[in-house]
């Protein structure tokens, strides 16, 4: 759980929004609240993507599939690149990142590092 400072939250959401748009997802709505922003998007094949920032900067990323037949779902086989919180209360963000946790806004350029989104959620 990477700590995303309030100062860099806007940049983080901007990054996600740009990435989703570039991937062909339609941004259906944005909640621009400073403390708890959110982005709602849809893919062309009916998937819904939501990113909300909750209490203490905790980020929730949710993907909903289009309608499917009710069936059992296998446990994911991939191992998480951090602690697994399956079945237990997910802690508030507690991992420091020199970039995302910095208490200053993101410098105007050269932009944000690539690939850092996967470590956050």
């Amino acid at each position: 759980m990477t700590v995303i400072s309030e100062e860099r939250r806007g940049s983080f959401l901007g990054l996600i929004e740009r990435f989703w748009s570039k991937s062909g997802y339609e941004i259906s709505s944005v909640n621009q609240d400073r403390e708890h922003p959110a982005i709602f998007a849809k893919s062309r094949d009916g998937f819904q993507l939501t990113l909300t920032v909750g209490d203490k900067g905790q980020v929730f990323l949710k993907v909903t599939t289009p309608c499917v037949q009710r069936s059992g779902v296998a446990e994911p086989s991939a191992t998480p690149n951090g602690p697994a919180y399956s079945g237990v209360e997910i802690p508030y963000p507690n991992v420091h990142s020199d970039f995302w946790s910095a208490k200053t806004p993101v410098p105007a350029s050269p932009g944000v590092p690539q690939g850092s989104t996967t470590s956050t959620s």
Binding site: S29, N31, E35, H36, A38
Partner: protein, 599 residues
């Protein structure tokens, strides 16, 4: 007291405290069994499980489990014996009091009460038709029957003309009757309790099987029937939830256990009793209710039973947030009040009133309850101290063509009583309560808000898929117009339900059942008209609430969506933004919602 007939002498000399003393002893055994069970579970089994993995350890664990179940069984059954004895002592108090009063009166009048209960009276001077003269004494034989009972054949209780002119005769007769009635009533109580007590027998052997456990619940129900009056005595039914909470808190552990095990139906739905206790009571009551329904051969009973089975399954599955069963019942279309998260410890609590077509059935468990669960999960993203309740505490109309304001008027006081209960039991200094009404439930919430004092404890009101709430202005809901929130999907036919004059029932009937092609789109949104079936459109400017953003949903006809847009406000899978907005309001962060223009 069985074996010999009950006489007035035995009733007079009866020491009820001896029953209570015996009850205390049974209670001790019950309590010790419970402590022993915990020792077996915690100290012995847990240690063995953590430290040994051998086959013999496995076998030992199996035996310990059986031991634990035996202690559990002892705990419950001894507790039931205790309740029966306490009930017997309490119920015998009244006939004993009546008897003693009659005996005192007889002594005061210098009458003699004989072994068989008859009363002799002395001679006296009386006014007769032939003047004042001395009339002889006599003996009155009592009758245990009440005045309204038909007289027995050959009875000597005849016309007043045949009665002795001795003024003592009538008094003696009255005393003898009262003695006989007291003894008969005590004998009846004795018979009832004896029968119940003799049912409380354990089968031979050490196995505590599922059949044994079923037996336990039947035993509890039996004790409940017999000792019900004793248990209900003292429950402050007619008092406010706050007073009931004080009453509950002041009970001893033994008394609370008695109510939870033996009279769970009384405690389970008693507003003012803390959520944890209500939950425990309802979990005890659930098998009893299911047993009752399984004995009924009707579609209605089968539907409710199926729903209760599903609820039971959910209760037995660990979940986050945890589930609390705050009410359950089979009256009307069925009752179920379920909380996701503890409403007594959470700072934010919402209580959602469902609407049109809701009843205790499979859909209720699979869809309606899940909505409250989704709200709880969503609100906890913003504040972990949040709980969400689904409140099916009334009969919602089942079809739009029978919908009148009657159900809402009946539901509103029940909803307010419930909210007053959770206000009394919530332990936070400044809790934040949200009333949520969906569909017809928004009319119920609106009606509740209009009652004197409004909805107890409520800070915010959320109305979704509303056909009108019975008031024309948001400020009439008692929380200030800035605290009234409306979700209305443009393709939700119910939130577009035209006023009665425009023939709403026919409109929806067409939409729901008739040929969809026959529907004329122009009827849907009568432009510029903001009157709905039950009053002003809550999404309109003149109503003046805050309208939060929701997905338009599929069009009823164009997308063959039917009522889908009416049913997705709470559900992140179908309307992320609406569910998120509701979650923010429930979490006390209504300043952070997304909004849209009035209709």
């Amino acid at each position: 007291m069985t074996g010999t007939a009950l006489t007035w002498r035995r009733l007079r000399d009866l020491k009820r405290t001896e029953f209570e003393g015996a009850a205390d002893k049974w209670n001790e055994v019950s309590g010790r069994s419970d402590a022993d069970r915990m020792r077996v579970d915690r100290a012995m089994s847990a240690k063995l499980r953590d430290t040994q993995g051998s086959e013999s350890a496995e076998a030992a664990l199996g035996r310990l489990k059986r031991l634990s179940r035996n202690f559990q069984y002892l705990h419950t059954e001894c507790g039931l014996v205790r309740t029966v004895l306490n009930g017997l002592a309490a119920d015998l108090a009244e006939p004993q009091r009546q008897l003693k009063q009659a005996l005192d009166e007889a002594a005061g009048l210098k009458f003699t009460v004989h072994e068989d209960g008859s009363v002799s009276y002395p001679a006296a001077t009386a006014d007769t038709l032939t003047g004042e003269k001395e009339v002889p004494g006599g003996q009155a034989r009592g009758s245990g029957r009440y005045l309204l009972d038909p007289p027995a054949l050959g009875s000597d209780v005849g016309s007043p003309f045949l009665r002795s002119p001795n003024p003592n005769a009538a008094k003696a007769q009255d005393i003898a009757d009262r003695i006989a009635r007291a003894v008969a009533s005590a004998a009846e109580i004795d018979r009832r309790y004896t029968a119940t007590l003799s049912e409380l027998r354990a089968a031979k052997g050490l196995a505590v099987t599922d059949a044994t456990l079923k037996d336990v619940s039947r035993d509890a129900a039996e004790v409940r029937t017999t000792a019900g009056k004793y248990l209900e005595h003292g429950v402050p039914f007619d008092k406010s939830p706050a007073v009931r909470k004080e009453w509950w808190d002041a009970l001893t552990d033994e008394q609370r256990q008695e109510y939870l095990n033996v009279a769970p139906d009384v405690i389970g739905n008693l507003d003012g009793v803390p959520a944890v206790a209500r939950d425990e009571a309802n979990r005890h009551y659930l098998p009893v209710l299911m047993d009752k329904l399984s004995g009924q051969d009707s579609e209605d009973a089968r539907t409710k039973l199926d729903a209760l089975r599903r609820i039971e399954e959910q209760l037995n599955t660990p979940s986050r947030p945890p589930v609390f069963l705050l009410g359950i019942g089979d009256e009307g279309n069925g009752r179920a009040i379920v909380a996701y998260g503890n409403p007594d410890t959470a700072r934010n609590v919402s209580a959602y009133v469902p609407g049109l077509g809701t009843k205790l059935d499979k859909e209720f468990v699979e869809d309606t309850m899940v909505r409250a669960q989704d709200t709880a999960k969503g609100a906890r993203e913003y504040d972990k101290s949040s709980a969400a309740i689904i409140w099916l505490g009334y009969d919602a109309p089942q079809h739009v063509d029978v919908a009148s304001t009657g159900d809402a008027e009946r539901g509103a006081p029940a909803y307010n009583a419930f909210m007053s209960g959770i206000s009394a039991t919530n332990g936070n200094e400044d809790p934040h309560f949200t009333a949520i009404g969906h569909s017809y439930g928004s009319l119920t919430v609106g009606t509740a808000a209009r009652q004197s004092g409004g909805i107890p404890g409520v800070d915010d009101v959320v109305l979704v898929g509303s056909p009108g709430v019975g008031v024309d202005k948001a400020q009439d809901l008692g929380v200030g117009r800035d605290h009234v929130f409306v979700g209305a999907a443009d393709n939700d036919p119910v939130s577009q339900l035209p006023s009665k004059q425009q023939g709403a029932a026919g409109f929806l009937g067409l939409l729901a059942g008739g040929p969809l092609g026959a529907y004329v789109a122009g009827d849907l949104a009568d432009q510029g008209d903001d009157d709905l079936y039950f009053g002003k459109d809550p999404a309109s400017e003149s109503f003046g609430a805050r309208r939060f953003r929701v997905d338009d949903g599929p069009r009823p006809l164009g997308d063959l969506g039917g009522f889908d847009a009416h049913s997705q406000y709470f559900t992140p899978e179908t309307d992320e933004e609406s569910a998120d907005n509701i979650a923010r309001i429930v979490a006390g962060q209504s300043n952070r919602i997304t909004t849209e223009e009035w209709r």
